[in-house]
Symmetry: C2
Subunit: 357 residues, 2 copies
């Protein structure tokens, strides 16, 4: 590790304003003038809100209700490669990924923090485009970015940019939603096609060997969830099948709730291009990541309303029922295949697609 | 970027439990069985609490009061090198760094999240030691780690381990503490010696050229702050001088509050070894990072009590008054030197010590 250790020059001339043909240097992470300049010219100009404007070590966040309730908090590191891909980029991913995790509580997203590791040599232009995308996505969601941090790693000690986001939602105490609440008899719904995000990222890396017309499904899901909960207020589980895909997510729910989850292969929605890519590569779309899909598990008497409500929302037009919850064989996910056999759907063992989120 | 893209093997034998002579591989970040095993055997066994045990996408956090109040939220990336140094390690740093940022609101720390980027090839043993240190530090502070995330970067695309922590504190609405509240006439106190953390890390890198008997001052400061606020309830500013040191932190406060901050060089406490190291390297201790020091700015009528209270606390034994706030020359920090001259204390321009936090 080389260290540049030049002495502080008192009263040094303030560097010129940040120019977009510059690249990130170590000084941008040192907490001095260059850091302040990067924060002011690049981050604050795009993300500004009254909380950030206070410029303290912490962001002040009010809770907009006197109802009894609690917080739902989630954190995620994002290190997708490439940084930009059809349907999104690391910026929109970093906001949606965390918003979706907190939204799975059934609560109202309140705020998000953003923390960056920048590799020395990253183009300021690239960073600006990513922060623009974060700002735009946060605006769509309707939440402020209330705290941030930037560190710089020497060239070769990071890969361009890594982003952590941590989100906070407010959940009325009356809501009881979580993987542990799946109940025998419940119906399992899925908001749309599986694996679009994973295959879109793979295609953007040029690893498919053919031109694939598939876009990442990145989307903030709190709006779709609001619609579902209005139609099916007794919903037991909300979960977004990201890393590990629908197969791994259903296994988590089966273990948490000590039930078995039964799905029908013929009901599982897959985009034809994703299906073709998976067949070629030997992947199973059940294990390919999504970033804008929702699994809903609700009592049978509310399933029809939930499905109708989902289909009326932009992010749930292709929603389908994919199966049901049973008491027998707790902890397992079982699939009736198109040939009428029953197959165990196991958790993904190792990795199939690294660096996709 | 090389991608290992082997197909999913249905019903594959579950890998053996995590062994401590293993290293991190890409599969530990893929969201499947290996990820779950790492989370269960390494993280959950050390960090477990009822909130993590729910195993949802989000951590549920109750607010333990019905008083009117708000949240203080802060986020920090940590990428110190080396990972272990006299007085601490990246684990204790990641907890204290964020706890201190939220504690500067004057609020009560409630919870923290932890998010990891692991480099392929990192020894499991090293990771276990770091997570042990995080668990121990969080226990000292008395807060749970309520959410986490782990990603793995290919060898050469990260540097061993990067940790993000995001903290949440509860602040009664009656508290009004922040850099913007410094007021002419206020007294400036500092809890102890400057620059210990930065010089300890530098020494651990072997870059001092001599054996230095100096330890990082890493400490959680919420207890010291509680003591100060009891003694000096009208405190206006609390701030921990980390990256950029006391000099840069005072400049931030001067700008936020549109006052000038006047300090006396002869009053600034510096450990003799830190002083010697700084003289040799051409550094000014005013710009060297601390990780367990506190700046307090309070009305003159409460300064004496604040000082007495600080000195009675383990982390404030060497507390001193270092200066006062004035109305003239707003936005500037000025120092009366030991020779009787007045010197402008500017913000640090670029970097002097990268990768120290």
């Amino acid at each position: 590790m080389t260290e540049s250790t030049y002495p502080v020059i008192e009263g040094a001339v303030c560097p010129l304003p940040l120019s977009h043909d510059q690249t990130i240097v170590m000084g941008h992470g040192a907490g001095g003038k260059m850091s302040q300049e990067l924060i002011r010219d690049l981050f604050q100009s795009r993300l500004m809100n009254p909380i950030l404007a206070e410029n303290n070590d912490f962001g002040r966040l009010s809770i907009p209700t006197n109802q009894p309730g609690h917080l739902a908090v989630s954190t995620d590191m994002h290190m997708v490669t490439p940084l930009f891909f059809p349907g999104g980029d690391i910026g929109s991913l970093a906001i949606c990924g965390t918003v979706n995790d907190i939204a799975m509580s059934g609560g109202i997203p309140l705020a998000i923090t953003a923390s960056f590791i920048l590799e020395e040599g990253l183009a300021i232009n690239t960073l600006a485009a990513i922060v623009d995308s974060m700002a735009e996505t946060a605006r769509q969601v309707g939440i402020p970015i209330i705290a941030g941090d930037t560190k710089v790693a020497e060239k070769g000690n990071a890969d361009k940019i890594f982003i952590n986001t941590t989100g906070i939602a407010w959940v009325p105490d009356s809501r009881r939603i979580g993987g542990q609440y799946a109940h025998p008899g419940d119906i399992i719904l899925l908001s749309g096609t599986m694996g679009d995000h994973g295959i879109a990222v793979l295609a953007a890396r040029g690893e498919l060997g053919f031109q694939a017309d598939v876009q990442s499904d990145i989307a903030p899901l709190h709006g779709l969830i609001g619609t579902v909960l209005q139609a099916a207020p007794h919903t037991h589980v909300l979960r977004d099948p990201t890393r590990g895909g629908v197969g791994t997510t259903l296994n988590e729910i089966a273990r948490q709730s000590r039930t078995s989850l039964w799905i029908e292969e013929s009901l599982l929605p897959v985009h034809p291009t994703v299906q073709a890519a998976c067949e070629m590569l030997g992947f199973d779309p059940l294990y390919i990541a999504n970033e804008g899909k929702l699994i809903v598990i609700c009592p049978p008497e509310e399933a029809e309303q939930a499905l109708t409500a989902m289909r009326q929302h932009a992010y749930g037009k292709q929603a389908v029922v994919i199966g049901e919850v049973k008491a027998e064989d707790p902890g397992r996910v079982l699939m009736r295949t198109s040939y009428g056999a029953t197959r165990l759907v196991d958790t993904l063992a190792g990795e199939i697609l690294p660096r996709i989120c």
